[in-house]
Subunit: 223 residues, 2 copies
């Protein structure tokens, strides 16, 4: 099965949906390349497939591949703009209540809302992404790239949050809360993947967050 | 300068301190090997020095080295028992108030106390350790080992905490709090290393923890 169709045939009969914009189509292709390259990594290891095999799974030409990514390594880590959907980020930015100085009292809830939106996506995709990140730990080349890319993306997101709150990016609370929420998200996926799955990813995440809140409500020092 | 003296000469004149036990002497040597191997890694890169050069810096023979560690890689990561001092762990275990079911209301404070004890050690040693962990990110071989050793040690510590609290090791709150405190410790050292150092490591850590508490005290969901 191919993920994208380069020839872009128009469907016949019935109502024709508005044709996707060029940039939406491009993002769809880019996402498909990353998704397929991660699947292939999980299946065969990172050195177990060629760019040609990847192109064939995606349904694109080699030439198209290089329009999107310079290397196979770049492809598996994906484009920075594909991490969090633009609309969700926009909603997060606009959710800050007006007329407040410094950290908004809704920051935690707004970040949680952002994560929950992400966890409501296609479950199979989230679990496959998780499988890929587990594979990264077994592949030195991927691992080396991840310790470079991970902090870069974290810093970009931190800058966005700090910008929304109007505080410096090295504000002592922001780094902690953003990191903790990211960790809770990973933990939720891991626990969910290992469970009998009668709960939901979202419930798993909120449960972890509630327990964290309870423990951080304890006194920091004895007496 | 040599870190250990294999010939164990007895000091003459004045009061002779009680001779260290064999196991205390062994731990001192083991720690010196790890400390020197980390310094050499920070100075020359992990492949930039030989076991012979390491032995010469520590002041031991090759043969002694292999009594402690099987490889140079094992040496830089150190012995699992050298991570947290046994007395501090013992104090943590005994600090749980009696007559309580489940998570103690002092768990956060007791964990914080454990970290603070660690942060009051020799500052230069903590900063040199930090420099080593920064170097790990640039060395694929060390990185691959770290993603293996890190979770193993984390799990061992988690088991100790869960054992103290009498809850299963996969308790949803424990993993979050232990990870968050570990992250705050790293952050504190990083911030301190980058600062003008007119505060202290301990103050930096407590400040991060207080900010985290404040943010986690916000509501998790909007109304």
């Amino acid at each position: 099965m191919h993920y994208v169709n380069e020839s872009a045939t128009t469907p016949h009969g019935g109502e024709t949906p508005a044709p996707p914009t060029r940039s939406a189509r491009m993002q769809k292709t880019r996402l498909a390349i990353t998704r397929c390259s991660r699947e292939l990594t999980a299946e065969h290891g990172f050195s177990g497939f060629t760019i040609e095999e990847l192109c064939s799974r995606v349904g694109i030409s080699r030439r198209t591949f290089f329009n999107y990514f310079a290397t196979k390594l770049d492809a598996v880590f994906g484009h920075i703009d594909d991490g969090l959907p633009a609309e969700a980020l926009e909603r997060f930015k606009n959710a800050r209540p007006p007329g407040i100085e410094g950290i908004a009292p809704t920051l935690l809830a707004d970040l949680v809302e952002l994560v929950v939106t992400q966890l409501r996506r296609d479950e199979e995709e989230i679990l496959s992404e998780h499988g890929f990140f587990e594979a990264v730990h077994r592949e030195p080349e991927l691992l080396a790239k991840m310790v470079k890319v991970g902090p870069e993306r974290m810093n970009e997101f931190m800058a966005l949050v700090a910008g929304r709150e109007g505080v410096p990016v090295d504000h002592p609370g922001l780094g902690m809360i953003v990191h903790n929420i990211q960790f809770a998200t990973h933990q939720a996926v891991q626990r969910y993947a290992a469970s009998s799955r009668d709960s939901s990813l979202e419930a798993e995440f909120l449960n972890l967050m509630r327990h964290t809140q309870q423990l951080f409500a304890q006194p920091l020092l004895r007496d």
